[in-house]
Symmetry: C2
Subunit: 461 residues, 2 copies
């Protein structure tokens, strides 16, 4: 392997019963996990004891999809679970060191609310908050906020760009040393160190200042997930962590080089952004044990759910009249995402998959990188991506919770530690410390201050 | 005293360093309380150990006011403190029984987000969440959300009315027994027990359903604070707790009768709404000790802050050129709230107050009922309001935190308990249990079910 020193960064991407679509049906699953706080306490404390950089929560402001037959047979698609900001805030109180990253969409929120909630979470947690900035592409979410369809892709990203800028400006409302709290003179803060943003833009007019003191990390860590052209540009300009889906080493290396290559134009050093693809590892002491665990989950996939997922990915084509163990029929061209449809059909043709085999192939990890093997095999695969600059770390997506998280902690982490690839103790206290990210300067800091070297580009080297 | 049996309901209204405008300057105050989670943990656990019904957090989505000289000398006016939903969620994790009521405005929020966050908090806390529904009258908040001035009063209340209706509908998205979670059949929920709201109104189009299961209390408890005509009507129709400000027994009794009298028209029993006025008790073992505590706080009021408060209440008239210990000058008529201005001037004239005396009179409790005395005197005053049907309980506003809360717990609560007016143990587990509020029926429940007697009016007797 090529030389690349250092530790992987690891996130624990929590999802009620686990990321596998059928996880809730497993005998070990708590089927009510989506509204069991005790379940999340157990997961967060286990991830913290294992020294993960962060826990990660996805989000959707609405159920994804309308197909009642499909939805009623899955615990996925945001049918019914905790809202991430409330859940992370509660978990902040029962953890001490692990980072807390929550998703919130720029499409149906107001930047003042988002800036305020994540700054508040950063204070509550002593500097462990991260915001995963996403745009919403689901009309099911849009309809909960007065829109009949979702915003066009370009508009979503223009809005996201301005949203991120407003949030970052609001986080700079108070200088680090604005609060004097001098009881004898009666001066609570220095008005010269409090800044009115007065933003007027295409999407938002936001006066500010934010009514939260500058937060322990300066700014909560900004995470992004977009892999489109607009998404990569936004990430290169503003993200500090990217959560992405890459199936192959080649794709991962190309994506990594692409995004990091864009950063110089924005005055940023590549190390100020950590790329952490999602991975669903299913680990056993032997290959056979790993395979058996995987097969057990796969066998639980309800054909209704599997067919609905294939149908969604092929633009709505109904396969329910065809035999499950027969070949995929000719699919008509639809206006669904061409790349996804092509990918699916090519996969099925190339490997001669039956309908059941196809849905089993895609339903498990839902498009993410899936690894089934021994601790050494999984560590090899992760390390390979890391040393070839395909990843700075991984967002671990346990298939079944808590089992798969515990397996990863008990089997894979010791292997990664033996190889010098993962920490045994936290060295710092904040999420920025864990990720090796610099504290951002305030946009109001001037070079003359001598305190902040760079006025606007927070992460320039 | 007239006969009225039963316990008072008590809220602990937490405010960073306490409600007295000068509390942060007191030697016992933690001047950084607004961003000290440890401070709030201590307060919440003390209130829970004392068996308060609930803790209560106010809110403003922006700093109140523009006067930098005033603001920079006060820890009030939402200059910089935790956001309530994040803070309450965190406190949920370190408490077990006490209710958690947070304020969120209907003026600059979306009902889907509010319904979701409070339902999520209700799940996290095992049924202890309450939402204090307010409208925002501050243009300083409006400007953080794209408006140049705040909404007109009538529009605010029309919006609030529709907002409350949408939130309540979203909370009914899933029936109590919608989740089957039947691993063997693969049925996660019963689609017939999940309801699409499909709300289309003047202010909001919200399709639903909410992506949170029906919460432990059915609905989080709805609290309101409005005392205007529109506010009282909204409360009579939808509120379960009212937080109000009443200075005199007569005013309190009149307000109580007025609001409760409106409820029958909405098919509600008066007991399904608890009226809990704010009170700032300053208690000492002797009258002299109580007075000394109060005087100590009063002496800390910065003249700049005191004058600014008088100026705000008299419509912006600048008194800084007049001697502090001289009389109030003739004030010109302004377009400020006439009733407040009249009240202030009448008070000053009637009692021959100097400028300093006037600001000391109003700056402490900021318009709320203020009691300075021994435990017996304070218990007498509270009990008098209770037995005369001026209150069902009180939202206790500690002047200085944690001292005034601890004084109330150590001195007043034992006196109230001796009189049989306050619980020694929690009897139930939820906020509804503590307040004696029935669990609301779902709007989708039919009489034929036999499970819910009343289809739409949740609290009818």
């Amino acid at each position: 392997m090529t030389q690349r020193n250092g530790h992987l960064h690891l996130g624990a991407f929590l999802y009620p019963t686990g990321h596998h679509i059928a996880a809730w049906r497993h005998p070990h699953a708590s089927a009510d996990a989506g509204s069991s706080f005790a379940h999340y306490v157990q997961l967060a404390q286990a991830a913290e004891a294992a020294k993960f950089d962060l826990i990660f929560l996805a989000d959707g402001s609405g159920t994804r999809g309308d197909d009642a037959q499909f939805l009623s047979r899955t615990a996925h698609s945001y049918v019914a679970q905790f809202e991430p900001i409330t859940l992370l805030s509660a978990l902040a109180a029962i953890t001490r060191r692990i980072g807390l990253v929550g998703t919130a969409s720029t499409s149906f929120n107001e930047p003042y609310h988002i800036a305020r909630k994540f700054a508040s979470l950063d204070h509550i947690s002593g500097g462990r908050a991260g915001w995963n900035l996403v745009t919403s592409s689901s009309e099911h979410e849009a309809r909960n906020f007065g829109f009949d369809e979702h915003l066009a892709h370009a508009t979503r990203y223009e809005r996201a760009d301005e949203f991120a800028d407003v949030v970052s400006g609001l986080w700079d409302s108070f200088d680090e040393d604005a609060f004097l709290r001098d009881k004898s003179s009666g001066r609570y803060f220095d008005p010269d160190k409090r800044h009115v943003l007065d933003h007027r833009g295409a999407f938002f007019n936001v006066r500010g200042p934010l009514n939260v003191a500058r937060s322990p990390q300066g700014h909560p860590v900004t995470v992004q997930a977009g892999s489109s052209e607009a998404g990569k540009e936004l990430a290169a300009r503003t993200a500090e962590v990217i959560f992405t889906a890459q199936q192959t080493l080649d794709d991962a290396v190309a994506f990594y080089a692409d995004v990091k290559g864009r950063m110089a134009r924005h005055g940023r050093h590549p190390d100020s952004l950590k790329i952490m693809p999602g991975v669903m590892p299913i680990v056993g002491r032997t290959e056979a044990e790993a395979r058996a665990k995987f097969d057990e989950l796969q066998a639980l996939i309800d054909p209704v759910v599997g067919l609905a997922m294939v149908s969604m990915l092929t633009g709505g084509f109904d396969l329910s009249a065809y035999p499950l163990d027969g070949p995929i029929p000719e699919l008509p061209e639809t206006n669904a995402s061409k790349s996804r449809q092509t990918l699916m059909i090519e996969l099925a043709r190339r490997e001669n998959l039956t309908i059941r085999e196809l849905y089993r192939r895609i339903a498990g990890a839902r498009g993410h990188w899936q690894l089934v093997g021994t601790p050494a095999q999984i560590a090899d695969a992760l390390e390979e991506r890391f040393v070839h600059y395909g990843a700075d770390g991984f967002n671990v997506m346990p298939a079944l919770l808590p089992d798969s998280l515990n397996d990863f902690i008990e089997l894979v982490l010791p292997e990664l530690r033996r190889r010098g690839r993962f920490r045994s103790e936290y060295e710092g206290r904040t999420l920025r410390d864990h990720l090796g990210l610099a504290r951002p300067a305030s946009r109001y800091a001037s070079r003359e201050d001598g305190k902040f070297a760079v006025p606007c580009a927070a992460h320039a080297a």
